[in-house]
Symmetry: D3
Subunit: 131 residues, 6 copies
C-alpha cells in the first residue's frame, strides 16, 4: 500500500479536486490514476507536477507517442514499477504497436549493456566530441 492514502474526489481539497477535473478534461477520461490521488495529499505539489506533465507530455517537436517511449525508457532505468506499468499502458493507448514495443525493449536492453561496458572500461568521450 502507498504510504499516504489515495484521496477520493470527496476527500480531496478543492484545490486538488480542481486538478482532478483538469486531468479528466485534458485526458478525456473519467479515470484519475492513483499517482494523482496519492499526490493530492500535497495539493500544491499536485498542481505543480500536473501542470508540468500537461505541458511536457503534449505533442510538440516530438509527438506524444515518442514522448511516452522516452518516459518508459527512463522509468525502466530508474526501476519504477508504478511508472513502467502505467506508462507502458499509456504508450499502447497512444498507438504503440507490439513491434514498436519489442524494439523499444531491445534498445533499452542494448543501451543498458553498452552503458556498463563504457563505465566498466572507463572510456572517455572521443577527442573529436570534446569541443
Amino acid at each position: 500500500m502507498a504510504i499516504l492514502p489515495k484521496l477520493s474526489d470527496e476527500q480531496a481539497s478543492p484545490a486538488a479536486r480542481a486538478v482532478f477535473d483538469d486531468i479528466r478534461a485534458t485526458r478525456k477520461t473519467d479515470q484519475i490514476n492513483d499517482f494523482w490521488r496519492v499526490l493530492a495529499n500535497d495539493p500544491e505539489q499536485l498542481a505543480a507536477v500536473w501542470a508540468q506533465a500537461k505541458k511536457v507530455m503534449a505533442p510538440g517537436a516530438l509527438d506524444a507517442l515518442t514522448k511516452e517511449l522516452i518516459y518508459v525508457a527512463v522509468s525502466i532505468a530508474n526501476n519504477c514499477e508504478y511508472c513502467v506499468v502505467t506508462h507502458t499502458e499509456a504508450a499502447r493507448a497512444k498507438g504503440m504497436s507490439e513491434a514498436q514495443y519489442n524494439e523499444l525493449m531491445r534498445v533499452i536492453a542494448m543501451a543498458s549493456t553498452t552503458n556498463r561496458i563504457a563505465i566498466g572500461y572507463q572510456i572517455e568521450p572521443d577527442e573529436r566530441f570534446r569541443k
Copy 2:
C-alpha cells in the same frame, strides 16, 4: 584514461579489424569510436556487441532517430558520460533539432521527478492495470 588501451587498426587482431571495417561500411564513415577501439581488446565480445548494435539500432518499427532518443534517455538515467556525449551527437547527426533536444530533456527531467515521487510514496499500479 580507459582501463584498456584503444587499439589502432594496426594493433587490432584480424577479427577486430573485420568489425572495424563493417562499422565503417555500415555507418559510411572512416571514424571508429573509441568505444569500439577499447572493446577490441576482447574481439569476440566486440563482434557480439557490434552485431547487436547494428541490428537493434537499424530503422524498423521505430525510426533511427527515435531509437537514438531512447538510447540517450537510458544513458542519462544510467549516468554514462561516454554514452550521453556520443549518442547525443549521433541523434544530432540523424536530424535531431534543438527543439526536439529540448523536449527530450524535458521529458527525462519530468520522468525523473515522477519516478521518485511514485517510489517515495510507494504507489502501486492501479487496480485496473493489474490484470
Copy 3:
C-alpha cells in the same frame, strides 16, 4: 518472501539474541524489525551493522530526525522499498510532521530532476568550485 528466514528469538544464536536485546534496550521497544531478524542469519554481520546503526543514527551534530530524513532520501534514490517504508515510519515516530514530509518529498523530487538535467547536459562544476 525474504531469501533467508526471519529468525525468532528462539531460532537466533546467542550472539544474535544479544543484538536483539541491545536493539530493544536502545530503542525502548519490544519490536525487532524484520531487517534484523533476517540479518540474524549472519550474526557477525548483524552485530557489525547494528553497531554502526546505533552509532551513526544517534543524535550528534545533526539531530535524530534530520538523520532520518537523509536516510529516507537515500532510500528513495536507491529504490529500497523496505527502507523507504520503515524509515518514513521512523521519521514520523521521531516527530516528522506532514508539512515536513511534504517538503522532504518536494526536495527529493526537485533534486531528481536537476541531477538528471546536469548529467544530461554534462555540466561541469563551475570553475570557482574547483580549487
Copy 4:
C-alpha cells in the same frame, strides 16, 4: 565540456536574462552558476526549473540547511558530480559545520549499505507497517 554552451548575460534571451536577474536578487549574489547558464539554452525550461527551485528550497517546515543536506544526499545517490560539488558548497554557505558534514556522510554511507542488504535478501516491510 557541457553539451550546450554556457550563455553569458549578453548571449541569453531576454526571458533567460530575467531569470538570471531573479536568481541574483533571490540569492543576493552576482554569481550565476553554470547550471543556469547552460539551461538558458531552453529559456522556458530555465524559468520553470528556477521557479521550482526558488520555492522548494526556501525555508519552510524544514530549514534551508536541512533541505541542502537532503539535496546533497540525493545527488550522491544519483552520482551527479555537478550537483554534489555545488550543493555541498551551498550547504557550507548555509552554515554546515565539518561535524555536520561528517555525520551527513556517515548516514549516507550507512543507508547505502542497509539499502543493499535489504534488497539483497529481498526483505519485505514488516507486517505491522503494511496497513
Copy 5:
C-alpha cells in the same frame, strides 16, 4: 503480473520453442524460467539473449559459480527482484555455501558504502593509477 503473458510451450512460436528445447538440453532440466517464457513474445530477442547467456555463463577462465556471484552482485546493485531471487537460487544450485553467501553479501554491502563515500567526496583515482 508481467506486462506480457508467459507463453506455454503450446503458445510459443516454433522459433521460441526451439530455444526452450535448447534451454532444457543445456541446463538438463525440464523447467523453463518465466523470464524466458515472457521474452518468448519476441522470439528473435529470446534467441539472441539466450545465445548470449549460454555462452557468457558457461565456465571458462572464471568458473560457473563465480559468474553467478558476479551476476547476483550486479542484480542487487540494479535492484532487479526477479534477477536477485532466481540467480541467488542458481548460485545455490551451483554449490554456493551459506558461508559463501554471507561473504558475498558482506562484500556487496561494503562496496555499496565505499562507492558512495568516494562519490560523496568526489575522490579522483590516485595519480599512479592514471597512466
Copy 6:
C-alpha cells in the same frame, strides 16, 4: 579535486595515522590510496571503514580475487569511477588474468541487459522460487 583535502601522514591526526600504519602493515605496501587520505578528515569513520574493509576483503569462504571481482562488479553498477579504477587494479594485483577480466566484463554486460529486461516486462519470480 576531492571536496576534502588528502591528508599526508604529517597532516593526519594520530588516530588516522595509526590506521595508515595498519593499512601499510596489512597490505605490505608503503602506498596509502587517496580514498583513505581523504577519509582521514573524519578519523573515526576512517577507522570504522578500514576495520570493515580489512575483515570483509580477507580471504575466507571466498578467496581474495573472487571478492575483488564482486567489488568491481558492484562499483561498475554503481558507476563509481574511483572504485572501478582502483579495484580493477587491485584485482590484477591479486592475479586476475586478461581472460578473467574479459569474462568479468561479459557477465556484467549480460546481467545489465537481463536486469533491465526483467524490470521492463515486470517479470515476477517464478512460483517455485517463492516459498
